[in-house]
Subunit: 441 residues, 2 copies
């Protein structure tokens, strides 16, 4: 990741800075631990997929206020000069325990815990939530879609409708972690090494005198990467034109990869298109479909038996349309030696630094998680939170995106299929250890 | 806007580049016009607020492939060297007609039209949709919220839950255009000159031995900007603590600005809190509320008569939760002298370059819009699309954010209140001119 993508310390809510100034003035800068977790009040998700850690650690390693940042803050006339001097010198020196990216987790389990002098830990709150939030939101939505597709490849087409450019890149990365095969987003390809994919839009077809001309022009330019978009005028007529050009290619010893359907009744049209291609002897050509797909619509298609081989997945996954935000929070759980608990309005925060122990059965299937105190030694269960940053420096080298993707795939294979349902809430069991329970009193 | 925020030409779908390569190989590079408009298939919005143009024009003026971009594209082994050489030299040289930011518009009306050599116009499609999309999405959602608040100030608190950092800044900018008074996002304050606001979170309160200590510490640090967050433990007890410290401040000739409620039953609690403050003689202290507000919840509060003076508005507006994406599209409508029309699946695109003429009544209230051919001379109606870029250069200086905000406020005042309803679909009349109709045949 190049520094040009860093958000920087001013990507924060003003109140983080006013609180920091308050702590500073009152010499309140003990080591604090904040816990980041996701609530699930509307029960729309049975599991979450941790993502965004690499970007966060890069931000924190490079965390410093630039000269122009201090100048801007000065001009707000809110902060005194000594505090601004302290900010100018401030670096992030904390420790972080986190779920490695690609880890499955459940409501109220910490995704990460940050321990740092209170001022530092407070200043980074917004940055942490923003960075982990979008990445985890989309990895989770994408995991549901991958599961629905039952082995058929998915391609991320969301960039045009993501919430800005940074979201576009994070959507590409998070969908790839969850098992998408590629993205249309070229910048994400460059930035993260994700395979890129894409062929043509309707404009290409309409720019030529006829659909047949457009298909021939494309085949001549990219004989090894030809997928015909066939719905610009009439999908079945488009399929016949695609077959014509594919047969011309075959005569030149070239192979068209397939056709793409982008509108209309996907189930009926895919059957008609498959028949046209098969009757032309083009049984090897694949059907790609892209039309408001998400886990719900993909499930319909799969259940119908429609002969669609791969899905272009855009807007609805790229904004997680059915649940477009996570209820992700950052809560103070310990200050110095004092465990902290907030009780207001039924939104209880569990005090103390934590560890998650995951138990599986002899087949490796996840059975339950035990939420425990960080320093608890337990005979059984795999501890999930790992030290990833110490004194503001990455503790371990950054995992490759391919390894993160493998971790997710492996973990997802260990989740009992009943939790993978997309239309009902089934809570995976998460229990508190006796010691963590006692700490809450 | 500094260049560090530019997305750059690789923020594109791969197919824009493969199509461009196809055009290039077939010498198809006539001047093309693409029209950007918003469809409204689910009828969730009666109007839209144009935003995002300044960012788009900045991208296009600086549009160039860097050396490392070309190197990345080369290594994809998709494009031939001559095409990559052409990309290396490519600049955006087109013309743009656009609705000035802050303009109200309606479904199917062009937000902007881009006329440029086909290759350039195709390459920028994704960038255009991504940039205009997020900004317009949020300006529209924010306008609905401002209307619901009936004059009470709104503050953008969304940053922690926006889809990444760039979305956070665009949310701050778009909500400000629509009339929000300020943002919590410090980077957006620095970048766009938007007023910033914020005081304390629950962590601040829990970091001190008691709520009273926390309130006193805050008042000592920011005596001119004190708003107490009162729901950390118990909202009414918090109000009494706030009153205590506010009276202490008064004895020092200082004035606390107010209190903030962040959870619980806002209607009942606000009444109880107001009573506590009033009985303490603190009638000038304001009640701020922040708790999942959007146009729907604000409307409930206003209708209840709850004594809330200002709203902190976060997640639900920051992701436009009830409608988290725009169905915004970029369609080829003219190539050389040939008008282009796409007919598939009931998604009709109107051929030809266009102008919108808006008619108002003698009181200035908008009556109807006429969608016409660009070059039509009409006796009545105000033409809305303005030339904003010529030969790749901004045609006029960038409007200030404050002027954009004023433009929106003025236009919104001219919209008949019946279209401002948030819970039913009422279509503002948009008719085609006879000449535009004839062109479609």
């Amino acid at each position: 990741m190049t520094s040009s993508y860093l958000a920087g310390p001013l990507l924060t809510d003003l109140y983080e800075m006013t609180m920091a100034a308050g702590y500073w003035r009152h010499n309140l800068n003990d080591k604090a631990t904040f816990s980041v977790f996701v609530r699930n009040p509307d029960h729309k998700r049975n599991y979450f997929v941790a993502a965004g850690l690499a970007a966060l650690l890069a931000e924190l390693e490079a965390y410093r206020f630039r000269r122009e940042d201090i100048r801007y803050l000065q001009q707000l006339k809110l902060f005194d000069t000594n505090f601004l001097d302290a900010l100018r010198r401030l670096r992030f020196t904390g420790d972080i325990h986190a779920l490695p990216e690609g880890t499955l987790f459940f409501p109220d389990e910490p995704v990460l815990e940050i321990s740092a002098p209170l001022i530092e830990a407070q200043l980074i709150e917004t940055l942490v939530l923003n960075t982990i939030g979008i990445a985890t939101l989309i990895a989770t939505k994408a995991a549901r879609s991958v599961h629905a597709a039952a082995g058929r490849p998915l391609v991320d087409f969301a960039l045009r409708r993501t919430h800005g450019s940074e979201a576009g890149d994070q959507v590409a990365r998070s969908t790839y972690i969850a098992g998408f095969s590629s993205t249309s987003n070229v910048r994400a390809g460059q930035r993260f090494g994700i395979p890129v994919a894409g062929t043509m839009a309707h404009a290409f077809v309409t720019a030529f005198p006829s659909e047949l001309d457009a298909f021939r022009a494309y085949a001549a330019t990219f004989p090894q990467h030809t997928i015909f978009l066939i719905d610009t005028y009439d999908t079945l007529a488009g399929a016949r034109n695609a077959a014509t050009v594919a047969l011309e290619m075959r005569a030149r010893d070239q192979r068209a990869l397939g056709v793409r359907l982008d509108s209309g009744d996907m189930i009926a049209l895919s059957r008609g298109v498959r028949r046209i291609l098969d009757e032309a002897g083009l049984t090897e050509m694949k059907l790609y479909a892209s039309s408001s797909f998400d886990e719900f619509k993909i499930t319909e298609i799969i259940q119908s038996g429609a002969p669609i081989d791969a899905f272009g997945v855009g807007t609805k996954v790229g904004v997680s349309a059915d649940a477009p935000y996570l209820d992700i929070v950052y809560k103070l759980v310990q200050l110095g030696k004092r465990p902290i608990r907030k009780l207001s309005s039924n939104k209880v925060t569990l005090a103390g630094r934590k560890q998650i122990f995951r138990h599986d059965d002899p087949h490796g299937v996840f059975q339950e998680d035990i939420l425990a105190c960080r320093e608890e030694k337990r005979a059984a269960g795999e501890p999930l939170l790992e030290p990833v940053m110490r004194n503001g420096q990455r503790h371990t080298p950054e995992a490759s995106l391919v390894d993160i993707r493998k971790r997710f795939a492996k973990q997802f294979g260990c989740l009992d299929p009943r939790y993978k349902t997309i239309d009902s809430h089934i809570a995976y069991p998460v229990r508190l250890s006796a010691r963590l329970k006692a700490l809450q009193k």
